[in-house]
């Protein structure tokens, strides 16, 4: 493959689609598939054939707005239809070339206008299983340029200059990480893509893998070239069958086109990728646990140092980045680091994909520039709280994160701002809660999660989360005292500071953040046996004092 050949494929792909008057893009992400978008696609294909219109129906990845699925996007008019069902197919096809079908239009300009798509630039626009469509949208140009015009050190410099930080949660500067692996000798090295998206309430990685898998493969190949690795693994949750099948097909396509294998892009660079399936363990999102799992063992973390960059998979230097991080690589090289670093805030560059869910009107995936306020995300893009309820808290960072109250709604989203407010960026789950959620119960929910997902290796996480869960249950049930609350706070401190890995160290965060902003709810459960959201079992249990007088 030469750059001329790449250009030819791109032009052929564009020409193939331009011969049609219309493109009907049907979302075939997991969200819309659950609404039978496959049947919608079949119906549309049939109607198009009947109508004789020069129109192409194709499957695409996630368009973001899962709440209004199944979604159909008409190109080139960019008309978006939601809640499309089989019965609507004829009417929809008939309307092509005339006035848009108002009945099905999504009318959610605000949802799309506020966003800036880099990672999701192809989602909803290409068929994820056709590599040529990816190439038609500038795909693999970055890899070609890197391999033929840059030395590995230059690639790392470009990534460093862009200011990209790890999108898996920790926010470690990506360029620094790559540099560490590059410097770790000349022997066998590995690149691992962490697709073990374990945060409940987050599905960014699933969506990227389903919608634009080639982007992740290209990012991994560039990384492998930069750090000197010849072998890569994508670790994907077994719970994501669609992502696995699309990724498998895409790896085959990438090999066929010569972007994986030996002599990639006519150079001496050789690299290939294998898929490894997760088996349902949240802790495997932790680097060392993930490595143990790829090695076929129990996914238990080990103490760091040594870091995987020095001693990782089978003791070799290993680069581990998250799906979204790899998805950012190609655009950075294509458009230059200055372009990327012009987006976002001082210390958090670029965009971030969030899974906006919970008690919010427009649930789905949003990609926003760093620095946007929570209020803009929730009330403008997200459309606010439905059914006349009021906003109570927004949870970010999954089980390791925290709940932020109304007074923090004007916080602009960045790694540092979220941490100083007592939460964290995490992988990108953003769950909105209204007045029907009890914050103590929410803390208990997360503690139950951490307890069942604890690997059991170190004492504070194994036994500490169980004790904290019992204490939170006691509070929810209206049977706790102030001494129990003090003990809970003490355990939070111990577990946070003595646990072996990130799961244990952050397990107390949901408790600490709800204690910081919603302590009155804890006290109401303890003193008044009262749950203002009415979800806990404490209601009706009168305080001990009153029982005596009664």
């Amino acid at each position: 493959m030469t750059s001329e050949e790449l250009l030819q494929i791109a032009e052929a792909s564009t020409a193939e689609h331009e011969q049609f008057d219309f493109q009907l893009n049907v979302c075939m992400g997991t969200g819309c598939m659950s609404q039978h978008s496959d049947k919608v696609k079949a119906a549309l294909t049939e109607e198009v054939a009947k109508s004789g219109k020069h129109c192409h129906v194709r499957q695409t990845g996630c368009m973001g707005l899962c709440a209004a699925g199944p979604l159909v996007l008409v190109e080139p008019t960019e008309t978006r239809y939601g809640n499309v069902h089989e019965a609507d197919a004829k009417e929809l096809v008939d309307s092509l070339g005339g006035k848009p079908l108002e009945r099905l239009e999504t009318h959610l300009d605000k949802y799309f206008q506020g966003q800036q798509h880099i990672v999701l630039e192809n989602s909803g626009h290409i068929d994820p299983e056709k590599i040529d469509e990816y190439i038609g949208r500038d795909g693999y140009q970055a890899l070609m340029t890197a391999l033929t015009q840059m030395d590995p050190q230059t690639v790392i410099e470009q990534i460093s200059k862009s200011g990209l930080r790890g999108r898996g949660g920790g926010g470690y500067p990506t360029g620094l990480k790559w540099g560490m692996v590059a410097k770790a000798g000349k022997g066998q090295k590995y690149v691992i893509c962490n697709g073990d998206e374990g945060d409940p309430g987050a599905f960014m990685d699933r969506s990227v893998l389903e919608s634009d898998p080639q982007r992740v493969i290209e990012g991994m190949a560039i990384a492998a070239y930069a750090v000197g690795a010849s072998k890569g693994y994508v670790y994907v949750r077994a719970e994501y069958p669609l992502a696995i099948s699309r990724l498998t097909a895409s790896l085959r396509e990438a090999r066929r086109r010569g972007f994986l294998g030996s002599n990639i892009c006519g150079t001496t660079f050789a690299f290939d990728i294998e898929i490894r399936l997760g088996a349902g363990a949240f802790v495997c999102g932790e680097e060392t646990a993930l490595i143990a799992s790829i090695e076929g063992q129990r996914g238990q973390p080990r103490p760091r140092p040594p870091y995987p960059a020095v001693s990782g998979l089978w003791g070799c230097p290993t680069l581990i980045n998250n799906v979204e991080t790899f998805a950012n690589i190609a655009p950075i090289l294509r458009n230059g680091p200055q372009w990327y670093s012009s987006i976002g805030t001082e210390r958090s560059k670029g965009t971030k994909v969030f899974a906006l869910t919970g008690k919010i009107a427009n649930t789905g995936l949003v990609e926003i520039p760093m620095g946007m306020t929570l209020r803009e995300i929730i009330f403008e893009i997200g459309g606010g709280i439905p059914n006349g309820h009021t906003f109570k808290a927004v949870q970010t960072g999954g089980p390791s994160g925290g709940c932020l109250p109304e007074e923090h709604l004007d916080l602009s989203v960045s790694y540092d701002a979220l941490i100083s407010a007592g939460s964290m960026m995490g992988s990108g789950g953003m769950i909105v809660m209204d007045d029907t959620s009890c914050m103590v119960n929410v803390a208990r929910f997360f503690m139950e999660f951490c307890m069942t997902e604890s690997c059991g290796k170190c004492v504070p996480c194994r036994a500490g989360t169980a004790q904290m869960f019992d204490l939170l249950t006691k509070i929810c049930d209206g049977e706790a005292t102030h001494a129990d609350l003090d003990l809970l706070i003490d355990l939070c401190d111990v577990v946070k500071n003595t646990s072996l890995c990130g799961l244990g160290m952050t397990a107390p965060n949901p408790v600490l953040s709800t204690l910081r902003y919603f302590k009155h709810e804890y006290l109401e459960h303890i003193d008044n046996k009262y749950c203002r959201a009415g979800v806990c079992a404490c209601a009706g249990k009168a305080p001990a004092k009153e029982e005596v007088t009664a």
Binding site: G69, G198, F282, E295, A355, K359
Partner: protein, 166 residues
């Protein structure tokens, strides 16, 4: 090939050849344990002692280590599932939207706890830690088919349908 003899296939069942194929593809390397268990689980629906012993012996993994791996990961099951499986997602988004009510309803109707199968072997009730379809929360998987915006009444209807067709 390994220096000492490989265990014979446990039975004539053709599925063992599929399991063996996965191990061969990985050169019978010990690190293929989880990949092979995935194959065995999807071939047989669950992993019994015969399967674990066969895989462990073939890959030269100690029995206790293989058992430790199987029981560490939620995806692997030691018991066969029922004829039908209802999996309720209890991820955060689904929890906020009332997944606990779905679990309670199913528990009440089936008289079993999550992770169990009805005594007649007809229906298994499971919970999942987020299936990544939070945009349509609360969701459940009815025999693997993802259903979004699930209501307790709707779930009950499905379960009643399964029970009636037994």
């Amino acid at each position: 090939m390994p220096a000492y003899p490989m265990p014979p296939l446990p039975s004539e069942d053709k599925r063992w050849k599929i399991v063996n194929g996965t191990m061969r593809r990985h050169g019978f390397a010990r690190n293929a344990l989880i990949e092979t268990l995935h194959t065995a689980q999807s071939s047989f629906g669950y992993l019994d002692d015969v399967a674990i012993r066969f895989v462990a012996r073939s890959l030269h993994v100690p029995l206790s280590q293989a058992y430790g791996v199987v029981t560490f990961y939620h995806h692997f099951s030691l018991k066969p599932a029922g004829k039908h499986t209802c999996t309720v997602c209890i991820g955060t988004a689904c929890y906020i939207k009332g997944a606990d009510k779905l679990v309670a309803e199913a528990q009440k109707y089936l008289k079993i706890k999550p992770g169990q199968t009805t005594p007649d072997g007809n229906i298994s009730l499971m919970t999942a830690r987020c299936v990544g379809a939070c945009g349509r929360a609360p969701v459940s998987l009815e025999d693997g088919e993802l259903v979004g915006l699930m209501e307790p009444a709707q779930l009950l209807k499905k379960l009643e349908g399964w029970a009636a067709n037994d």
